[in-house]
């Protein structure tokens, strides 16, 4: 079982997220991370989902996702070919100026930005993959984490390939070679 990142383009309509999420729970998978937002086309949202599955299960999940009418495109983003980032906001207690300075130092090393300071707390924003966010989280734990929130991982493929069917790297989920071939869509019947 590996952690896989799936990028899914969907209609930006009500009920779509629950359709997608339901598919995972219905097939017995837990969503490890989920991020949703609109794309440059306001009618289309992009969902990034991370899930624990083996390769065979991933193929089945992907094919099930593609069957949903609201889903435009699905792509599994391999870690070696993808950039993955998430934003973490972390609020840490800072008792005195010594502690506060230490926290600011850690923030600088991780290139985290300080977005709020009060007498007793500092809030940092960190962007990175899980190795980075977890590292800073561990370091800050000793100061006492008051609150923490993550956006969920978002990811894009490196290079010129995109999630769009036409520019997608050929060969993925290649069940019957016809699947990804561009076809003329004639009106049915």
């Amino acid at each position: 079982m590996n952690r896989h990142t799936l990028a899914v383009l969907v209609d930006n309509e009500s009920g779509v997220l629950s359709r997608v999420a339901r598919l995972f729970s219905g097939k017995g998978y837990n969503i490890e991370s989920l991020a949703v937002g609109t794309t440059d086309n306001p009618a289309i949202s992009r969902i990034t989902i991370e899930v624990l599955a083996d390769d065979k299960q991933l193929n089945l999940l992907t094919n099930q996702l593609r069957k949903l009418i609201c889903v435009h495109s699905v792509k599994s983003l391999k870690p070696e070919h993808a950039i993955r980032r998430e934003l973490m906001l972390i609020k840490v207690g800072s008792g005195d100026s010594v502690q506060r300075n230490e926290i600011i130092q850690i923030a600088n090393i991780f290139r985290a930005s300080i977005i709020d300071v009060s007498k007793a707390s500092i809030t940092l924003a960190v962007i990175g993959d899980e190795t980075k966010t977890e590292a800073i989280q561990n370091l800050l734990a000793e100061f006492g984490i008051l609150e923490l929130v993550r956006t969920g991982m978002v990811a894009l493929e490196r290079g010129q390939y995109t999630i769009d069917e036409q520019t997608k790297m050929k060969g993925e989920f290649d069940y019957g070679k016809n699947v990804l071939r561009e076809t003329d869509y004639e009106p049915f019947v």
Partner: protein
């Protein structure tokens, strides 16, 4: 033309060529029924006793005709009563469009009277569903729903329409089906969604042809996909050309004529010895339109263990889902077989066939003098009913016996809930089929357990003068469950004995139908003939022994040749 939503809905149904609707009115769908009243004669509306019956009838209609079945229900309990029927259609890929009305948009989400989030409820059991909140989207949505229901791998679609939408006015312009794909949301969808099945890849097909040439022991499984895409002619031509034995799944019944010498019978849990042994011994297995369900591939790891497995399916997500294949072709069964058949030479596998057919393809059931056995009942029906009789079944022992005994000759001749196993499906389905084909005989085979579930539809059968013949295998027990309890659960018959009312003969009489009882073969033959000759529906209560078993039987999860019963 300015029309109200209810009229737009009905006009859109006419665009689709819908002439028959099964349904049940209620508070929120009143506008639609009111408009239908004004359009007197435009639709044949069949009012059932219960929404579940309407949904099964629409499903039976769809299975028998190959067209999209339509059912109506009101909000809340009306809508949830459709759920079992929709799930039944979903599991067997039957195209239906279920139309429900919900409370008005201003009341949605307020736990209003008879409100339910039916699109949420039916999400896992529909291909797609819609909640229409704006009358301007209504026509577009109905067109899209029908396109989705019948395209690709068919299936149910639900449209939920808020009550105020059915009363609001909007511009409607009649559109031919050909131009539906050029406008609106459906047009946009067609830019990216395969409404046409993917054109099969010729390299993949050539590879399969080469595999067939090298195979000495090829074996075919004919599944429900062949029936759904009406690929039976193509399948028969292919099967005869490669001269390979063919096993049928429950859903594949009707694709190949039952008396075809290449047929080895049913495969799987209650499959014939010939089928189950052949699939274990073959060197090439070609499964067409079959998803290797757990009732066929009981133990996926050892299923066809000596064979290269090839799967032909329209639904890419079925490939490698249950059984790992060696080769697969994604495409419509008919198209794939039409392309494949010319690429393979005329073959002869006499030695292999002799080996396969040395095992029995049918089960021999002993007859006990003086009593009535399932075999006697079914053989009598085969002998007395016309060849093109449509058979609908419920679920359980009678279903397996019926499929073992009848020779189904064309797709849509058998209506049975294979995937979902819905007890109570048969009478609704029979009503759907008899409505579609008033001139054909429809025989509904059921058990006393299944029949008791939805026998209220006898009222529908009676009112519409449908001459359906219901044959009850009355063993006063839930036979299939009892069989499992007998074989696997140490004969502890927990809650399966059905020694209770009603008297089915009196019940039939109460509904204005012929009621008969048969306790031996001669009696059955006589009353069945009476039923055939009658122009009203009949119920025949056949008294059979409660310990009659379906044979052969392989336990769930066991290797396919490990017969528990022979």
């Amino acid at each position: 033309m300015q029309l109200n939503g209810a009229r737009i809905l009905l006009e859109c149904l006419r665009e689709q060529g819908v002439d028959t609707i099964f349904g049940y009115p209620g508070g929120t769908i009143l506008n639609v029924y009111d408009e239908m009243y004004k359009m007197e004669g435009a639709f044949h509306h069949v009012l059932t006793a219960h929404e579940q019956g309407a949904c099964h009838a629409a499903d039976g209609y769809a299975r028998a005709t190959g067209k999209v079945g339509v059912c109506f229900a009101t909000s809340g309990p009306g809508a949830t009563n459709l759920v079992t029927g929709i799930a039944t259609a979903y599991l067997d890929s039957s195209p239906i469009v279920a139309i429900t009305c919900n409370v008005s948009t201003s009341l949605i989400g307020k736990d209003s009277f008879q409100e339910v989030d039916i699109t949420g409820v039916t999400m896992p059991i529909t291909k797609c569903n819609f909640l229409v909140r704006d009358v301007n989207n209504l026509a577009d949505t109905v067109r899209e729903a029908f396109a989705i229901a019948r395209s690709g791998r068919p299936g149910p679609v639900l449209i939920d329409i808020a009550k105020d939408v059915t009363a609001s006015m909007a511009e409607y312009e009649k559109m031919s089906m050909k131009s539906h794909g050029k406008s609106g949301h459906l047009g946009a969808l067609m830019q990216r969604y395969d409404f046409k099945p993917p054109e099969p890849d010729m390299e993949d097909i050539q590879l399969l042809a080469d595999m067939l040439r090298q195979s000495k022991r090829p074996f075919l499984i004919c599944g429900g996909g062949v029936v759904r895409s009406r690929a039976h002619e193509a399948f028969r031509a292919f099967m005869r050309r490669v001269d390979a034995p063919v096993a049928l799944t429950v859903m594949g019944a009707g694709a190949v004529p039952g008396d075809e010498p290449l047929v080895t019978g049913m495969i799987g849990m209650h499959g014939s010895q010939a089928s189950n042994i052949a699939v274990d011994a073959c060197d090439l297995l070609i499964a067409v339109g079959c998803r290797f369900s757990d009732r066929v591939a009981l133990k996926p790891d050892t299923f066809a263990q000596h064979a290269k497995i090839v799967q032909i399916d329209i639904d890419r997500s079925e490939i490698n889902k249950n059984v790992q294949t060696d080769h697969h072709i994604v495409g419509d069964a008919r198209r794939v077989l039409e392309l494949l058949t010319p690429l393979v030479p005329e073959m002869h596998h006499d030695e292999w066939k002799a080996e396969v057919f040395s095992h029995p393809t049918e089960t021999y059931y002993e007859e006990h003098p003086g009593t009535l056995t399932p075999s006697q009942v079914l053989s009598s029906i085969v002998a007395q009913a016309p060849d093109d009789t449509i058979i609908s079944t419920d679920v359980g022992q009678h279903q397996m016996w019926a499929i073992q005994h009848f020779h189904f000759d064309y797709p849509g001749q058998l209506l049975t809930s294979g995937g979902f196993g819905t007890m109570g499906f048969g009478l609704g389905a029979a009503i759907g089929a008899q409505t579609a084909f008033p001139d054909k005989k429809v025989v509904h085979i059921t058990g006393d357990g299944s029949f008791r579930m939805n026998c209220n539809e006898l009222a529908t059968e009676s009112y519409y003068k449908l001459p359906i013949i219901t044959v009850i295998f009355d063993n006063r027990t839930l036979g299939m469950v009892r069989q499992w309890q007998n074989l696997i659960y140490g004969q502890r018959y927990s809650q399966t004995t059905l020694d209770r009312a009603p008297d089915f003969v009196k019940l039939a009489d109460a509904y204005g139908l012929n009621g008969f009882r048969a306790s031996n073969e001669a009696e059955f033959k006589e009353v069945f003939q009476k039923a055939l000759n009658s122009d009203r529906g009949s119920v025949i209560d056949c008294m059979i022994d409660m310990d009659e078993k379906v044979r052969p039987m392989v336990g769930g999860g066991s290797h396919i040749t490990d017969f528990m019963l022979n």
